[in-house]
């Protein structure tokens, strides 16, 4: 099991791990981890931002403003601080 997990991480050699607020716009990213208090993670999960989901950052407001993220069916605006708590990996 551990071997499979490791090979998954290394097999996509153009994959980049970053936080949601720093993800490139229009890139498809997969959520790796959501840190912070549980109720916040739950609220995010309900809107489709949870481990394993694929998101796309549509746009971000200037000067540290909100981030607009597209899940499978919804567009969700996230505060920058919250977006920072979501660790993602770009898929090539």
């Amino acid at each position: 099991m551990a071997a499979a997990k490791t090979s998954k991480e290394f097999s996509v050699d153009t994959a980049q791990v970053t936080s949601l607020d720093r993800a490139q716009e229009r890139d498809a990213v997969e959520v790796l981890e959501v840190s912070g208090p549980r109720n916040v993670a739950n609220s995010l999960a309900q809107l489709g931002i949870r481990v394993g989901e694929v998101l796309r950052v549509r746009r971000s407001a200037p000067l540290g403003g909100a981030v607009l993220v597209e899940t499978r069916e919804r567009s969700v605006a996230l505060g920058r601080g919250l977006a920072r708590r979501v660790k993602v990996q770009t898929r090539s």
Binding site: S60, A61, R74, S75, A77, G79
Partner: protein, 640 residues
Amino acid sequence: MKVALLGQPNCGKSTIFNAVAGYRSATGNFPGTTVELAWSKVRLNGQVIELVDLPGIYSLTASSPAEEVAKKFLLEQEVNLIIHVMDASMLSRSLELTLELREMGIPMIVCLNMTDEARRKGITISAPKLSELLGLPVVETVASRGEGVRDLFLAVKNPTHGSRPVKTGTADISWHTDVEGAVSKMQSSLNGTATRNHVPPRFVAIKLLEGDEGFLAAASPQVRAAAQEGRRSLEQSHGRPAESVIMSERHDRSMHLFEQVATLSRPKPDFRIALDNLLMHSFWGYPLLLAILGGFFWAVFGIGSALETAFTRAFDAGFHLLASGLVPTSLAYTVVKGVWDGLAGGVGIVLPYLIPFLIGLAILEDIGYLPRVAYLMDGLLHRVGLHGTSMLPLILGYGCSVPACLATRILPSRRDRFLASVLSIIVPCSARSTVIFALVAFYLGPAWALAIYAFNGVVVILSGWLLTRIWPEVSAGMILEVPNYHWPTLRVVTMKTWLRLREFVMIGLPLLVGGSVALGLMSHWRLDAFVNRAWSPLASLLGLPAILGTILIFGILRKELTLVMLVQVLGTTHVTSIITPAQLLTFTVFVTFYFPCVATLGALLKEVGGKLTALAAAYTTVLAIALSVAVRLLSSAILS
């Protein structure tokens, strides 16, 4: 028969409610608008049913006040039927809630709403297949056009699934073996313990495994220990908290269901994406925001001032006819004049601005622009200790402070709620706006009125910053769904406008008339001299004639009174002939900021309690005095 409408925010459930129940609740294209319950008795082919519109919820895990309310209602009230409304264009996500609701064992009808949106996105759903897989009746609707609503309520009257009357979703949708194992283990440890009457043991077991506080608290120590053990084992085998495991199960099942009932094709080209590229643009979004708000402002002023001029002329003429037979110093004359002044003020001055204002606000709300405003403004608001979701109370505050204070319930912490309430009462409500329009815009020009709004905006931001310094707390951060634009529907806009207008017509207008008569009588019997003398220190500080003191007290009852009475007291509608432009500006600024009206005080008391309400009231009054003095000093220099 008690029927509950349930669904995720923005699924159109309130539209359906209003279609049958009349103008009882207000919908908003901004998640979190319906936080209160709306209910109505509806007659369906002779039978009277009680229909309740529950707040929009994403799940039953109660992580927000809205979900608490919905869950509590379903558990404690005898609900005979749930109408579960879903946005068909978001089916896979919506199905998670469906699966949760099925676990409650309450008879349910599924309403697949917004099928037009789904089609536009290229999603075709087979309702019969869905019905078969869920074991529930499924009705398709397009509520905004009224399509299918009749069929929905026919199904309510006769809920059948095929030919069998529906009991609960009887189709088997179970989870992965190991999770099911944990659930049945939990269920068996419940055997023998008393659960609430109609709640199925499986539902209780799942809730306990999810760590639901309400259920854990009500459980016996043995059950609690069993739940603890169950959670621990799930966490160990999956490497994640138990509720995350359970959520994934539902997610899995709903995706599976979705794949079985939906076919995807190419979505139709959507100009709304291009619109968002403009309106949410990192740079252009902001000047466009100002332009849209400015345009709104100009439209309200344009329509309002035209109507006001026409109406006041008519009312003046009318009074001459009415009072022709009366002696000016008689009691009769005073009373008649009081009534007429109240009516003239309410209908001739307030309504011309109020109606276009409310219509415009309703349109903005319905189109779906407001979440985009929150998106644009979140960065700035965060710097003053709020976040974008606090925009909703602030924006509602431009209509009326009462729903604004109630809307603060969607905010997570007490401090956020207090902050948003205070800021939403500093923002000028429609009553105060009427004063700004009718006095400053009308006599000094729209530019000055716009200046007051801008000034007010700056004060709101600074107050937020100040209050954050005094009561610091790390704000959780905004999580807000941004729904798609849709054309404002006449029905919804009229409904929303009428709802707020009705309040003015039924409560405000009588108060205006009563207040005017009271004021007239006070001056008739020379009582006003007392009050004015008591006010004179403040009045001279503000550079205003003492008679305005009484008016400001009446303003605590209702803000429009300040406008109507000013006109009444100065004896003419050509106000600038008696007080100077500088005084007019000072007076209006004071009215814009000072002490909230009694209705708002009531709402504040309910939301934040006595101490904080007193604090808010004191803050706004001190603010008003300070700002008006400043304005007085500045404007005498500029205007004179």
